[in-house]
């Protein structure tokens, strides 16, 4: 018996190591405005398909969902707050839209249809993460294949379909974090997840959870669980100091390492030319020894990683005692590289029937900037494409707007069956429409390419009409207004560019999550012939808007019912009286 178990244990251990890997990573970055951005990434890699689903590290509930609905790629994010690109730069992970965003790429060839699987996936994730994702129905679902390309390194050959939906009014709170932490092998008891204290995380100026599942070769799956938060040490300290530590940010320290994690590291970006002190002392980094996780991501030659980054290996440090990384400043500093593009998006008009949508884009860079522009508006507002105006400095420049594609809202929903294969992704307009839904209008989809001259502010306006809804279609808090999802600005191919970051080729691994350099070189570099046109390195999201629709007096139906009932009673009563009563003289 003993010898048998001795024989089996190494086999199990070896099998576990080879089949599944788990690593965790925390990136802390002091920001220009004194805030601290923190990004937790928990990566579980499943090598090869396991038909029996005997997982040791990979979470079974999520594995069952991916298997059941045959998902190639899945991205879910639940965020609260507005990501302030102007002050904070690009996020570590680009999925920062307000509220809930869910998109999935599904291959053809499963037993059920794409839309059935999409509905099932929504409901299953709603149950798993305690979020209202079940309400992401066809009225919120679209298929913007250019802005949300396939990112997996290995894709099955079957044609793929995209489903994308957002729910800008969704909250994120402890009930979402609880199931999230239950997917981790060490829960929140050990390792970096120990720092995820809900009382502090949901107090952050910006916070969000993300689940990103990509396919790897051989039917394997890579799952990244991401927690991003932007803390304000100035507010937390109650004073003017922007010093921070684990204890001050999270009210916790790391007192145990997760034993099943193959790597567990804390990386702190160090501000340049600043007088600051960091405790404990980071490990000396030999420049020739690169971290294993860095091999997969593009190195940035312009920014030497060695000097700007402090790396802590959690298991070795925790063995000496609780780990509490702290940073202290003596002087303020200025963040040098804000993103080149600043975006503001507003809704104008005081009338409840009409209005205008305005986007103001400022290019702070010395080179023209070409960006893709995507609006997915629910059917309750109708955007009029012929009224789109583009101005630069008060002068009409409609020539800066190109490649306009507009799918107005209509029911049944116009799902273009976009295929992901590179050969057919060139002209989305030509694809046949698959009418799959029975009721309810689909969102309208507007997509265009904008070219911003250097050092200029471009203003795009479009008129829109607001729908007059039936009174039963209003939400319970109708006076608050309806949330319109934020616009998306995404990379487009620029002339001469062969950079994978701006390529539409879905088989390429497009912007990587861990791409961490933040310099001017994050513009997609172009070759000498077209040195002047740049594009964005990542998708950028604008905050959600609130549309004020004509709101009825909800008591009016009852008033009408009461009034008409009274009238009917009066008329009927008097007529009945006249017809049936006999008028006789009674002798007294």
């Amino acid at each position: 018996m003993v010898s048998w178990s001795l024989l089996v244990v190494p086999l199990v251990v070896l099998g576990g190591v080879w089949c599944e890997e788990y690593e965790e990573d925390l990136v802390l970055r002091p920001l220009r405005d004194g805030k601290v951005s923190s990004t937790f990434t928990f990566t579980t890699v499943l090598h090869g398909a396991d038909p029996a689903q005997h997982y040791t590290l990979f979470p079974l509930p999520l594995g069952q969902i991916l298997r059941e609905y045959a998902i190639t790629e899945l991205h879910l994010s639940l965020n609260a707050g507005k990501w302030n690109y102007d002050a904070w730069g690009y996020p570590e992970h680009p999925a920062v839209p307000t509220g809930a965003e869910l998109w999935a790429w599904m291959p053809d060839g499963a037993a059920s249809t794409i839309d059935d699987r999409w509905a099932g996936l929504r409901n299953a994730l709603a149950g798993l993460f305690c979020a209202s994702l079940g309400s992401l129905d066809h009225r919120r679902t679209s298929s913007p294949v250019q802005a949300y390309p396939l990112q997996s390194s290995h894709i099955p050959s079957a044609p793929h379909h995209l489903r994308h939906a957002t729910l800008p009014s969704e909250h994120v709170c402890t009930e979402n974090l609880t199931p999230f932490l239950k997917l981790l092998p060490c829960k929140s008891r050990a390792g970096l997840a120990r720092l995820l204290n809900p009382q502090r995380l949901f107090d952050a100026d910006w916070h969000g959870l993300g689940v990103h599942v990509l396919s790897t070769e051989g039917g394997g799956v890579e799952m990244k669980l991401v927690v991003q938060a932007v803390f304000d040490p100035v507010r937390l300290s109650g004073g003017k100091r922007r010093d921070w530590s684990f204890q001050s940010l999270f009210d916790r320290t790391i007192n145990a390492a997760c034993p099943v994690a193959s790597s567990s590291s804390v990386r702190v970006f160090l501000p340049e030319e600043q007088i600051f002190s960091l405790s404990p002392e980071p490990e000396p980094q030999p420049s020739d020894e690169s971290q294993p996780r860095d091999e997969s991501q593009p190195h940035d030659e312009s920014q030497p990683h060695d000097k700007s980054l402090a790396i802590y290996d959690v298991p070795t440090l925790v063995s000496h005692g609780p780990l509490d990384v702290a940073m202290q400043w003596t002087t303020e500093h200025a963040f040098q590289y804000p993103p080149p593009l600043s975006i503001q998006r507003t809704l104008h008009g005081t009338s409840q029937a009409h209005g205008a949508l305005a986007c103001t884009l400022t290019n702070r860079g010395p080179a023209p900037l070409r960006v893709g522009y995507l609006e997915t508006l629910p059917a309750l507002v109708t955007l009029w494409a012929h009224t789109i105006r583009v101005e630069v400095g008060g002068v009409g420049r409609d020539d800066l707007l190109t490649d306009l594609i507009y799918h107005p809202s209509h029911s049944p929903s116009p799902f273009s069956s976009h295929s992901s294969s590179p050969s057919s992704s060139s002209s989305p307009q030509t694809h046949a429409h698959a009418h799959t839904h029975t009721h309810g209008p689909s969102p309208s989809l507007l997509q265009a390419t904008l070219t911003l001259p250097p050092y200029s502010t471009l203003r795009l306006t479009a008129e829109l009409s607001r729908a007059f809804l039936r009174y039963t279609e209003h939400p319970p808090d109708a006076m608050r207004g309806w949330d319109l999802p934020g616009a998306v600005f995404f990379p487009v191919p620029v002339p001469g560019s062969t950079d994978s970051a701006s390529s539409f080729n879905a088989n390429h691994s497009a912007p990587t999550f861990n791409h961490s350099a933040r310099t001017d070189s994050t513009y997609a570099q172009t070759d000498e012939a077209h040195a002047h046109i740049h594009t964005l390195p990542y998708r950028m999201h604008t905050p959600a808007l609130l549309a004020d629709l004509p709101t009825p007096d909800f008591s009016m139906p009852y008033n009408v019912i009461i009034l008409s009932c009274t009238l009917v009673t009066l008329i009927f009563g008097s007529v009945f009286n006249v017809l049936t009563r006999g008028w006789v003289v009674v002798e007294v």
Binding site: G120, N123, G127, T174, T178, Q199, F202, P475, P476
Partner: protein
């Protein structure tokens, strides 16, 4: 001549027989006692094997903080007493914990001192925000769901489930508002419960509601095995208990506050009964006349334990393996369908021995037949013996 030792032999046989029966009876009772004592330690006659809770806060907006706190207080109690998250359906119509107006993000408190965080770091809200609708509530109760709805959002009960249903919000005479734009009426809930009863979705229900004119909400119930209680009579308001000046709103309702106060003293092995809970209602403190409706409930209230509904105390029913009728007798007399089936069962078991073609009967039923025949023989033998004894005594 030989008759002179007949009485002695009769007496001898009688004592032997008595000893034998007494021994078998004694051993069987001690075993039964042991088994039922082990499985039925908390047995209060309810006959349930699993516990479920449906906790509904039907109010939206920050100023209804106290309704969220009411429901979360109940959530904490049932979870503390052992009902797992998978058996709790929690519906919160708004998110106060992460509301921008909450000075204490991720926390909900139900008392002015803010000693106990009801939200904690382990909570699963099954329906939230706009999902909290009358339709979804009725669907949860009756189990009529889309096939893709996950298990965590379903009430997967059976006919041995005790369900605790707690509702709170703003209400009136025979209605409760959901989210300020729709209402559920007392008739809707009563019909939903009847549907659950017909579909064998519960064993017993404990219905508790904290709203204005709450007692009207259970006035229309007509399904058996429902115990109901509410916070105030018709024409009465239910009032909030206290404010917290840092949170800035009322933090809990009065009735729920005093119920939770009693619940804090209860643990899984507590023998406190529903009678004790109802006796603790004090109209002076609550500022309203809390009511109880127990005419549909079959058991005496002092035998119905609070943990029968609030606790996840697992119970197993013990049935003798050779006596199918015992299964029927332990079930409630109020289940007509089951009584019919038991009658059919009896009829079958009486018919089969008379039929000589027992080759089709399975071996298990054959053993049953043999044991019933043996019982009959034993019965007649003892009667004959008794008759002989009486004859002998009268002869002398």
């Amino acid at each position: 001549m030989h008759l002179h030792w007949l009485p002695h032999s009769c007496l001898f046989f009688l004592t032997c027989f008595a000893a034998l029966t007494a021994r078998t009876w004694a051993t069987s009772t001690s075993q039964d006692e042991q088994v039922s004592g082990f499985f039925g330690r908390h047995e209060s006659g309810s006959g349930h094997t699993n516990n479920w809770a449906v906790l509904v806060c039907a109010s939206r907006y920050w100023f209804n903080y106290r309704h969220m706190a009411n429901a979360l207080g109940m959530y904490r109690t049932v979870k503390r007493l052992g009902i797992p998250d998978s058996n709790i359906i929690l519906m919160l119509a708004d998110d106060v914990a992460c509301n921008a107006r909450n000075k204490f993000p991720g926390s909900v408190y139900a008392e002015a001192g803010r000693h106990l965080d009801l939200y904690g770091d382990n909570i699963e809200v099954d329906y939230r925000g706009y999902e909290v609708t009358v339709e979804n509530f009725i669907r949860v109760l009756t189990g009529r769901m889309e096939p893709s709805v996950p298990r965590s959002k379903r009430l997967l009960t059976d006919d041995r489930s005790n369900i605790f249903v707690y509702m709170t919000g703003h209400g009136g005479n025979e209605f409760l508002k959901f989210q300020d734009n729709e209402e559920i009426s007392a008739f809707d809930i009563a019909d939903a419960f009847e549907q659950m009863w017909r579909k064998k979705r519960y064993n017993e229900i404990f219905f508790m509601i904290d709203t204005c004119q709450a007692n009207t909400m259970y006035s229309q119930f007509y399904s058996p095995n429902i115990l109901a209680t509410g916070s105030s009579e018709i024409g009465e308001n239910s009032y909030s208990h206290e404010n917290d000046y840092d949170i800035g709103v009322s933090v809990i309702d009065s009735y729920t506050h005093y119920v939770l106060k009693l619940m804090e003293g209860i643990n899984k092995t507590s023998q406190t009964s529903m009678q004790d809970l109802f006796a603790s209602y004090d109209p002076v403190k609550i500022h309203s006349n809390a009511g109880v409706r127990s005419d549909l409930f079959q058991r005496p209230l002092d035998k119905a334990l609070i943990t029968d509904f609030f606790g996840g105390v697992a119970q197993a029913g013990v049935f003798p393996p050779d006596d199918p009728t015992a299964f029927v007798t332990t079930l409630k007399a109020s289940e007509p369908a089951l009584i019919i089936s038991s009658a059919q069962l009896n009829a079958e078991s009486h018919v089969t021995p008379s039929q000589s073609t027992s080759a089709v009967a399975p071996s298990g039923s054959y053993a049953d037949e043999w044991s019933t025949q043996w019982k009959v023989a034993r019965k007649w033998a003892s009667i004959t013996l008794l008759g002989l004894l009486v004859a002998w005594v009268s002869h002398r």
